[in-house]
Each structure stands twice: as C-alpha cells, then as structure tokens.
Amino acid sequence: MANVISALFTASDEQLMWRVKLQDDAEAFASLMSRWQRPIENLCIRMTGDTHRAEDLAQSAFARIFARRADWEPTGKFSTFLWRVALNLCHDELRRAKRRGECSLDALDEGGDSQPNYIASEDPAPDEQADRRERAELVRDALLKLSTHYREVVVLRHYEGLKFHEIGEVLAIPEGTVKSRMAEALTQLNRLLKHLDGDTSWNPKTQTPELLAL
C-alpha cells in the first residue's frame, strides 16, 4: 500500500526527463541519476569487467543524455533510451580496448585498484572468501569471453532483470532472437564453467583450459 501511495506521488522517469529537456531542471536530472546510476554502472561492469572504467562509462552515459536533452523525444521509455546509450558506450570502449591491443582479462588479473571487491556475506572464513573470489573471477572471465551480442543479453536479462521483450526494444531486435541468444549464451557458459557447479575443491589452474588459454 505504501508503495502504491509513493508511486502516485513520484514522478516517472519520462516526466523527469521532460523537465530536464524543457527547463534544464537540475533537480530532475539528479533524481534520474540517483535512480539509474547504480544499474548503469553494474551494466558497464558486467560488459567491460572493469569497475573503474565502468564508473567513467556510466558518467559518460549521463553526460551524453544531458548534452542531448533537447533531442530527446518521449516515444518510448526513458530507461530503454538510457540502456541503449550505455550499451553503445560499452561497445565503443570494448572496440577501443581491442584496437589498443588490451586484454581486459589480463588487466583485471593484475589486481590492485581495478579489482572489484566482492560482497562477503556474514564474513566467511578467509579461505572461503578466497574460494568465492576465485569462482567469481572465473565466471567474469567466462562472461567476457562471450561475444558481446551474447553478453549484453545475459547481462540485461540475468543481472539487470529486464524482460526479454524489453531487451528486444533496447537492442532493436525481435524477442525471439533475444531468447535464442540467451539460450546459446547459457550453453556456452555451461560449457566453459561446467566444473564450477557443486565442486568447491576444483582447481581452476588445472581444469579450465579454455579460460587459461585467454
């Protein structure tokens, strides 16, 4: 009930964006940023595998939207527009990294500042934390190994919780294609990570030739 009442008095994303477009309303834009900054950063982290780069990309996405506020037309959902802008920036970044000859996995494995910190619920033992961290890194590496058109579908559906038809709108492809890509992505992930399931003692250094070959 409280949610319904608060929803009645909360401006929608589209209403806020209209205020930004027509009145350069900073408060409205700040509200949009506070709503969407975290999901967009998460999207960029999953797409690039790099926390710091993802923060920059998320900021660039909002800056681009603000710079183009006059061009914005409410023909669709604001979120669809935002996801699309952020994904395009991720694609550009991945292309730039490829041109520079960077390997994102190598960059991540260097440790230090670019390493994401993983949530450790209820402070498990250090060896358990290390194990979780290792498994997370393997999943991240496997995800980064997927083609970007598979990865973006996985990230939007599995991590960001968009419906398949919403992903179709963001990527401008039919819903059936989204589902086909999802099925293929899950098949590839299972093949890359089949040893991960239920085997906590598994040693990745000896049992993941596909990932270690990266």
Binding site: A67, I119, V139, A183
Partner: protein
C-alpha cells in the same frame, strides 16, 4: 537442440518445446498454464531435461559473480535518528523511575523540562544535519551541472570545427568544379572550331573536280 525446434508433432513423435519457450520458462516469463505443461514435459522427456540442466548450469554459474561492493555515502539523517532514539530511551527510563519512586509535582516538572531540552536538542541536531545534507547535495548538483555544461560546450565546439572542415572542403570542391567547367567550355569551343574546319574541308573536297586533260 535442433530436435526441439518444433512445437507441433504428429502422432507417434515427441512434441518438444523450442528453446525460446524454455528461456521464458527458466526466467519465469511464461503463463502459469504453459509453465505447468512444461514442468510436466520435463518429467517425461530426458532430452529436454538434459538440455535444461545444461542451461541451469549456466544460470547458476552466473550467480557466482556477485555485485561488487561499493562505498555509499552515509545517510545524513542517521545521527538525528540516533539522537532521537537515545532521547526516547532516556525519557522512558526517566518515566519508569519516576513512576516507581515518586510522582510529585516538582519531579514531573523536572521531567517535562528534560523532555523539552531533549526535544530541542534533537531538533537542533536534526536541523544541522539536514542543512549539511542540503549544502552537500546542492554543491554536488552544481558541480555535476558544471561538468555537464562543459561537456555540452565541448561537443558544440567539436561540431563547429567539423562544420568548418566540411565548409572548407565544399569550397575547394566548388573551385575545382569551376575549373572543370571552364576546361569543358574550352574543349567545346575547340571542338566546334574543328567541326567547322572539317565541314569546310569536306565542302571543298566535294566541290573539287579533276581538271580535264587537254
């Protein structure tokens, strides 16, 4: 999963749902009735059950990469709440002790006075924190707006520079076009003169008669 791309089967063949339907099933997007049918199919079809296990393996693996933990600004109103809680506890204890020991007019007045003091204290603390929060948010907003405007300005400058380059290229193209036109006119004039000369030569040739030998 080529064998599962058919929804309709003839008598005697197995009726496998396609991968798109399984994706909707896995992510809870299919209708309850269809979900029930797919559930039933899984219990009787080892092929589909094996495929589902592979997809679920991929999904479970994805959950092994948790969200990165990030620092969040502490909520500014939290100290006020703490003060309020502390005041409430002090008051509750005071009232309880007062009831146990005495309820004389003087003690009640003292208690009321303490209540007023504590209320004022909480109010001051709350106002202070609120004004600090507003100041911080306002400064952050101003900074964000400034950065966004800088970005927009940069974009405009870039666009103006691009337009200038295009204009220069067009001017150069115009000049070249003028030269080509002039060359073409010269060629046309020369060709016309050539035609005229040829015509005269042909007329002379036609008029030419071999002189009779005497």
């Amino acid at each position: 999963m080529e064998s599962q791309d058919s929804n309709t089967g003839t008598a005697g063949t197995v009726n496998h749902p396609n991968s798109n339907e399984w994706m909707s099933f896995l992510y809870g997007e299919c209708a309850p009735k269809r979900r029930h049918e797919l559930d039933a199919h899984l219990t009787t079809c080892p092929t589909c059950a094996a495929q589902m296990q592979a997809w679920r393996g991929g999904m479970n693996a994805l959950d092994e990469w948790p969200l990165p933990a990030r620092r969040h600004a502490r909520r500014q109103w939290l100290p006020a709440v703490k003060w309020a809680a502390a005041a409430a506890i002090v008051l509750a204890v005071g009232i309880a002790i007062g009831r146990q020991t005495s309820n004389t007019r003087a003690e009640l007045d003292a208690l009321k006075s303490s209540l007023a003091d504590l209320t004022a204290l909480v109010e001051r603390e709350h106002n202070l924190n609120l004004s600090n929060s507003i100041a911080v948010a306002s400064s952050a907003n101003t900074e964000a707006l400034r950065l966004l405007n800088d970005y927009a300005q940069l974009q405009q400058q870039q666009r103006a520079a691009d337009q200038e380059v295009i204009r220069t290229a067009l001017r150069s193209f115009d000049l070249r076009l003028g030269r080509v036109r002039s060359d073409l006119q010269t060629v046309a004039v020369n060709t016309e003169a050539g035609f005229e000369l040829t015509h005269q030569n042909m007329a002379q040739l036609a008029a030419y008669t071999i002189p009779e030998e005497q």
